[in-house]
């Protein structure tokens, strides 16, 4: 019984649940991969999971976008999180663009996009 109850709860909160799973995937990708591009992909997955989480807060089951029409009443979702996340997406895009341009520069200077390789080249320099 307890099992079923837990699964039901997970189902009710599935948005949050998957957002957290995505967050962990993104975080893991970002920390464990040596390829810098993959790091940035991980960062984006992580950001997206947070956006999903944030937007899910404002979602009301069966609700629709709050465009008010006279004489019609509906349940509406909370538009504020969506509006905020629009800003969040813009921020994430600019961070990604900047990070990718840094990777291009790194490739020009080191000839590789592997973090460990770059560390090795740098280590050799200081000796």
């Amino acid at each position: 019984m307890a099992m079923i109850e837990m699964l039901l709860r997970l189902h009710q909160n599935s948005f949050y649940f998957f957002a957290i799973i995505l967050f962990v995937i993104g975080f893991h990708t970002m920390l464990t991969h040596n390829n810098l591009i993959k790091k940035i992909i991980g960062m984006n997955i992580m950001d997206t999971s947070i956006f999903l989480f944030f937007v899910a807060i404002g979602y009301v089951r069966g609700g629709r976008a709050p465009i008010l029409e006279p004489g019609v009443s509906h349940t509406y979702i909370n538009p504020l999180p969506s509006a905020l996340i629009l800003t969040g997406i813009v921020v994430a895009v600019s961070v990604t663009a900047y990070a990718l341009s840094l990777i291009i520069k790194l490739y020009q200077h080191y000839g590789t996009i592997d973090a460990e390789e770059i560390m090795r080249i740098r280590g050799g320099e200081s000796l």
Binding site: F23, I50, F53, F54, I57, P81, T87, V95, A99, I103
Partner: protein, 494 residues
């Protein structure tokens, strides 16, 4: 233009000119520097004016577009905010005056216009963080600040700068992610983003959803901790601060890491309910992290050979003092912590600028090669000496005042162990700063140190002003202490 819109103008004016700067760089190259200086000076004087207002009649709110709080974004101008405003713009102004000459040595001349853009963006975002009273607004400013501070490192097109900037960017993106998730957690249970409304909401939510608040608090600590380079999360700092152009190092070490500490102070003292903070040993954790930062940072600094790397590790130790003050939860401790923000901003930027002057004039970065620099570059070496003295906390320098309050705070909080930490770390500071001074003044100059380039006046003046400031606030700290005391009282709710 009435003075009622000053709080927002302080942020908007640098932001506006930041976007105009590329145009100036194209058409009127000569205007770039005066316009930058003008914008920052405007913010400085407005902050001073608001400080007077706040001291006279207490903190006040500013509503964007006159929308009342739960809907509109709000600025809250209290003593801490104006204090940070003065610190940021005052020190920032001196750094960019210095930078106008020094940067010509370090970056391509065609990029100077962009540097001013980034610098103004950085200033505006930091001022915004100091004044804002809204979670999401805080997040946006944090992101602007993160990108701008990475960009003023990577603008120097050398491979170690690019690499350091990338590392910084990735880690601070993790930090921003954590902060946004924390904001989501808080918004979820309170339905508000305004600090005051969230604080009210958390009072009732505390008993219903304690786990949410706990997770939010943890995420905020990690997010802001990464950005403020609190001890175990400091790995990006040494590379980033040492490879950057000297003015960037000065602004990053002196101001940028502090503003995140201020954000944390605001959240811990104003937003999260005191009962909750009392229930979870957040403050104790902060205390221990700060202690490790102070000791380990100094230890690492001792073994460094590169002058800027040493200063960078020293910053890790010094940010520890600020968090020590925050974690003590006593009036004097908080005063000491906040006071250390401005004191460290002045002395660390002066040290970085002096180090930059050494590098500018001689090209020498290795500590052991700086023998006799005191004979050939007296102004920069004297500034470095004053800064070192202040770091150690010798009386008559400003570093002494903040350490004094911190030590009093540890005793008030009945934690004398941390007073010992302050003492030990002062000795450690002595271990790595004093030999440089001795070397600089009591050895014979050799090689490139013997014949330095002349320092332009734009570079000596900020050094002299900062050095004078360090001594002035060490001898006559009363006005500053008054402001900070009020700030601490307001934060602690008296």
């Amino acid at each position: 233009m009435s003075s009622t819109h000053l709080p927002v103008l302080v942020v908007v004016v640098p932001l506006f000119f930041a976007y105009l700067m590329p145009l100036f760089a194209r058409w009127r190259k000569k205007w770039c520097l005066p316009v930058t200086l003008g914008a920052i000076t405007f913010s400085l004087f407005s902050s001073l004016y608001m400080a007077q207002q706040v001291m006279a009649s207490g903190p006040f709110h500013y509503r964007m577009g006159d929308w009342p709080p739960p809907w509109g974004i709000e600025f809250y101008i209290d003593h801490l905010a104006v204090f940070m405003g003065i610190t940021l713009t005052g020190v920032g102004l001196l750094i960019i005056i210095y930078g106008s000459k020094d940067l010509l040595h370090e970056i391509k001349e065609s990029l100077m216009g962009w540097y001013y853009t980034l610098y103004l963006l950085l200033m505006a975002s930091m001022l915004g963080m100091a004044f804002t009273n809204d979670f999401f607004n805080l997040f946006v400013f944090i992101e602007i600040c993160a990108i701008a501070s990475c960009a003023i490192i990577s603008i120097k097109d050398k491979r170690e700068c690019i690499e350091a900037a990338f590392k910084y960017l990735v880690l601070s993106a993790v930090g921003s992610g954590c902060i946004l998730l924390a904001i989501a957690m808080v918004y979820m249970i309170t339905g508000h983003l305004n600090f005051n409304f969230v604080a009210e909401g958390l009072q009732t939510a505390m008993s219903v959803y304690p786990k949410n608040i706990l997770v939010a608090l943890a995420l905020l600590m990690v997010g802001l901790g990464v950005k403020a380079a609190l001890f175990p999360l400091h790995v990006w700092l040494p590379d980033a601060h040492s490879s950057a152009p000297s003015p960037s190092s000065a602004v990053l070490s002196g101001l940028v890491i502090k503003i995140y500490a201020v954000a944390m102070i605001k959240l811990l003292y104003r937003v999260f309910p005191a009962d909750f903070v009392g229930m979870i040993p957040v403050m104790n954790m902060l205390l221990w992290m700060a202690t490790f930062a102070i000791i380990v940072g100094s230890m690492f600094a001792i073994v460094q050979e590169d002058i800027k790397k040493m200063l960078a590790y020293s910053s890790i130790a010094q940010i520890g003092y600020v968090f020590l003050g925050v974690g003590l939860m006593s009036q004097n401790g908080l005063i000491g912590g906040i006071l250390h923000i401005i004191n460290h901003a002045m002395m660390k930027s002066m040290l970085f600028l002096a180090a930059g002057a050494f590098i500018y004039a001689t090209g020498v970065r290795k500590l052991s090669d700086l023998k006799g620099i005191g004979h050939t570059m007296p102004v920069a070496a004297t500034a470095f000496t004053i800064g070192s003295m202040a770091m150690v906390g010798i009386p008559a320098t400003n570093g002494f005042i903040s350490k004094w309050y911190l030590a009093l705070g540890t005793l008030d909080a009945n934690k004398p162990l941390f007073a010992a930490v302050i003492l030990v770390s002062s000795l450690l500071n002595g271990v790595y700063y004093l030999p440089i001074i001795v070397n600089a003044f009591f050895a014979k100059p050799e090689g490139r140190v013997a014949e330095p380039e002349r320092l332009p006046v734009q570079m000596t003046v900020p050094l002299v002003v900062l050095g004078f400031g360090c001594l002035f606030f060490g001898v006559f700290p009363s006005r500053l202490v008054e402001l900070v005391t009020r700030a601490a009282q307001v934060l602690r709710g008296f």
